[in-house]
């Protein structure tokens, strides 16, 4: 009786010890990776803080104004009668100043207007109708 129960309890004890050891190991593992992740998150947060500060620093109105003036030839708004827009169709087509070696990025292959001329945009009823038709699948 003693032999079997003694043997049994020894095996159980060893087994429990092994399970306990394994559990403590895995808990330590998990804690380690948790603290690693927490630290990584802290670092990321700090980086985001620094980057967003830099973003606001680089977007200072003074700087944007200077870049817009030097880079794309924009000017400060002025209050002259001619420059106040009363009618949306009177807005001139944006002019990209010609810079040597730099071609303006464009979605279409239409060249930007070279001068500040007013462009007469005609309303094309036919084109609009055909567009509608193509959207409707030509059912009309």
């Amino acid at each position: 009786m003693f032999r079997i129960s003694g043997l049994f309890s020894l095996v159980v004890t060893l087994g429990l010890g092994a399970v306990l050891f394994w559990t403590s190991q895995s808990v330590q593992d998990v804690e380690r990776s948790l603290s690693k992740k927490n630290n990584a998150i802290e670092r990321e947060k700090e980086t985001i803080r620094v980057l967003s500060t830099e973003w606001d620093y680089l977007n200072r109105p003074q700087r944007l104004e200077r870049l817009a003036k030097d880079g794309i030839g924009m000017s400060e708004p002025d209050a002259e009668e001619t420059s106040v827009v009363h009618d949306i169709s009177s807005i001139p087509v944006p002019v990209v100043p010609v810079m040597p070696g730099i071609k303006p990025a464009s979605l279409s292959n239409i060249e930007p207007a070279a001068s500040e001329e007013e462009v007469d945009v005609k309303y094309d009823q036919e084109a609009f109708d055909s567009l509608l038709e193509s959207v409707d699948g030509g059912s009309r």
């Binding site: 032999r3 043997l7 020894l10 004890t13 060893l14 010890g17 050891f21 190991q25 380690r32 948790l34 603290s35 690693k36 927490n38 630290n39 990584a40 700090e46 803080r49 620094v50 967003s52 500060t53 830099e54 606001d56 620093y57 977007n59 200072r60 109105p61 003074q62 104004e65 400060e76 708004p77 002025d78 209050a79 002259e80 009668e81 420059s83 106040v84 827009v85 009363h86």
Partner: protein, 584 residues
């Protein structure tokens, strides 16, 4: 297993019992020891093999060293009304040395001197050779510098992480945002007055400032100062409905990151701390007082043919028309004589009460610590009432003037200036819901009349150069002589303009003041408000409408409407003269 098998050696009797007992004990003891050794072996395997593999990875070791700790409270951010950062605390490394661990002080000093050329060689060497265990080398260094020092690999050099206050917008709104010291203590502006709140590290503190408008205002004031060789300037943009300050500029200004290098002139806040006799812009208040208190009609005549004599005082007109003028004419031509007569009609008590209701005689209630106390004549004699009617003898801050004008044009309800968004106000360093004043200063009818008069001044009077086509700008010029030793000086002026738009339903008040402008060739030697400040206000309004996306009014409204009947405009005067000549 064979331990148990041995027990099969069978013995009998007393000896066998004793032997049995001894053997049992030995087996038990052995089992205990075996278990203990197994544990030791298991732990050894754990430490050397299992965890050892982990620690081979240096980075993992580094992470392990930084124990997860509770989030340290950091000083809160300050942002503008659109969430653009105005102030934020960032971690930076500060370099210190433990001289006992520095092996070669001379070489280390030379290497450090190369990285930080501004450090003194002698000082540095002395520090590194000292007997102390801790000396600061340089605080708040950049990551690049930190990298170079790590490359040196000197065991005596170490870093401590410290928070440093960063102001991404630089000097742009420095007099409102303020600045803080090396230890993070707020020293001025919102940083100073909300010090405790910011230290608690709650959500960011949002101001009513809009950095885009702030920039437009600063640019125009700065241009005016340059063009007219002035010594300084100030300006405010205010929302007339709730008194929120959209922009407040005081020039010259300084970089808050290096406030220690700023001069007193730059540190001085001209917007809310400086008080000035602002001149004719005060005619807005005396005229409103006349209309409100006496119910005077718009056709009321004022004799401005001769300078006004009261006792030993003589009041003259700057833009002398030398004729009998109606009330709108007095306003649009900015007649001192007419305004003094208006003040006299209202009476000393009336003017005093009206000015005090507008908050002109007590310090403003802005949330920054730098608030100037207005200078009020004491005792207030009748002659003071006359001079106060055209803005002399009473000195107020540009901020007070702006909020008083906002109270006049917004329909007649008092507004108090505020810098804190979300309708909260500073109350003993805590945020507390802002109370709307609901105090009526003038009736809506008088408010409407005042808008008409302001519009008339821009369309026909002294403020023509502030007109922005399509936006019905109204406003009033002000040119005051600065008091100094031996009375007022004709050379040292405070030239200002207060504009409001759109006049039919005002939303914004824009005020610009330029300190001691000098006339130029282009301005024919003039340095008055109409020449100096009005064009600047016009440019600010032009920028505002494009930044805020305000559409121009479609039809050309004649806001001044019925007032024109009581006014002789230039063409009329010319025509009359021609008719007179023809008649002779």
């Amino acid at each position: 297993m064979n331990l148990f098998q041995r027990r099969k050696l069978h013995m009998v009797g007393v000896r066998s019992n004793a032997l049995e007992q001894a053997r049992g004990r030995i087996v038990l003891m052995s089992a205990v020891f075996v278990c203990a050794y197994l544990l030791v072996i298991a732990r050894s395997v754990d430490v050397m093999v299992l965890q050892g593999a982990l620690y081979n990875n240096e980075e993992a070791h580094l992470y392990e060293a930084v124990a997860p700790k509770g989030e340290a409270v950091r000083r809160g951010d300050i942002v503008d009304r659109n969430g653009v950062l105005l102030a934020r605390s960032l971690k930076t490394a500060s370099l210190y040395a433990d001289p006992k661990l520095v092996t070669a002080p001379k070489e280390t000093t030379e290497a450090l001197k190369e990285i930080f050329p501004d450090l003194q060689y002698g000082d540095l060497l002395q520090k590194l050779q000292s007997k102390r265990r801790f000396v600061w080398i340089k605080r708040n260094i950049t990551p690049d510098e930190q990298g170079e020092i790590l490359q040196l690999g000197d065991p005596g050099l170490n870093f401590e992480e410290e928070d440093r206050r960063i102001y991404p917008q630089g000097e742009l709104a420095v007099h409102m945002v303020g600045y803080s010291g090396v230890d993070g203590q707020g020293l001025a502006g919102i940083e100073g007055s909300f010090n405790k709140y910011l230290d608690a590290g709650d959500e960011p503190l949002a101001l009513t400032i809009d950095v885009r408008l702030q920039h437009a205002l600063r640019r125009e004031i700065s241009n005016s100062i340059e063009t007219f060789s002035a010594i300084g300037g100030a300006g405010v943009i205010m929302d007339v409905r709730d008194g929120s300050v959209l922009a407040a500029v005081s020039l010259p200004d300084f970089d808050p990151q290096q406030y220690g290098r700023a001069e007193n002139n730059e540190l001085f806040n001209r917007v809310s701390l400086g008080v000035y006799e602002l001149g004719s812009v005060f005619k807005i208040f005396s005229t409103a007082a006349l209309l409100e208190e006496t119910g005077a009609r718009i056709a009321q005549k004022f004799d401005a043919r001769e300078p006004l004599r009261r006792g030993r005082h003589k009041i003259r007109d700057y833009h002398a028309e030398k004729r009998i003028m109606s009330l709108p004419e007095v306003f649009m031509h900015s007649s001192n004589i007419g305004s003094a007569l208006m003040g006299e009609m209202v009476g000393t008590e009336g003017i005093k009460k009206f000015y005090s209701d507008l908050g002109l005689l007590t310090p403003a209630s802005l949330e920054v610590g730098e608030i100037g106390k207005p200078i009020v004549p004491s005792p207030w004699r009748d002659i003071n009432t006359l001079t106060a009617s055209y803005g002399h003898g009473v000195a107020v801050s540009p901020l007070q003037l702006t909020s008083a004008v906002a109270s006049i044009v917004n329909g007649g309800e008092l507004v108090e200036p505020t810098l804190i968004l979300d309708g909260v106000r500073l109350e003993k360093d805590k945020k507390k819901p802002k109370q709307k004043t609901n105090v009526r200063i003038i009736s809506p009818e008088v408010s409407h009349r005042m808008r008409q008069l302001l519009r008339l001044t821009v369309s026909e009077g002294t403020g023509k150069s502030a007109d922005v086509d399509g936006y019905l700008v109204g406003g009033k010029t002000g040119t005051a002589e600065k008091p100094g030793a031996g009375g007022y000086s004709r050379k040292r002026l405070i030239s200002s303009f207060v504009g409001t738009f759109p006049s039919d339903e005002p939303r914004y008040v824009v005020y610009i003041m330029v300190d001691e402008p000098q006339g130029t060739q282009e301005s024919y030697g003039y340095a008055t408000g109409g020449w100096v400040a009005a064009p600047a206000v016009k440019n600010v309004i032009a920028s505002m409408v494009s930044i805020l996306g305000i559409a121009p009014s479609k039809e050309k409204k004649r806001m001044e409407g019925s007032l024109l009947r009581y006014v002789k405009i230039e063409d009329q005067i010319k025509q009359e003269k021609e008719q007179n000549i023809a008649a002779h």
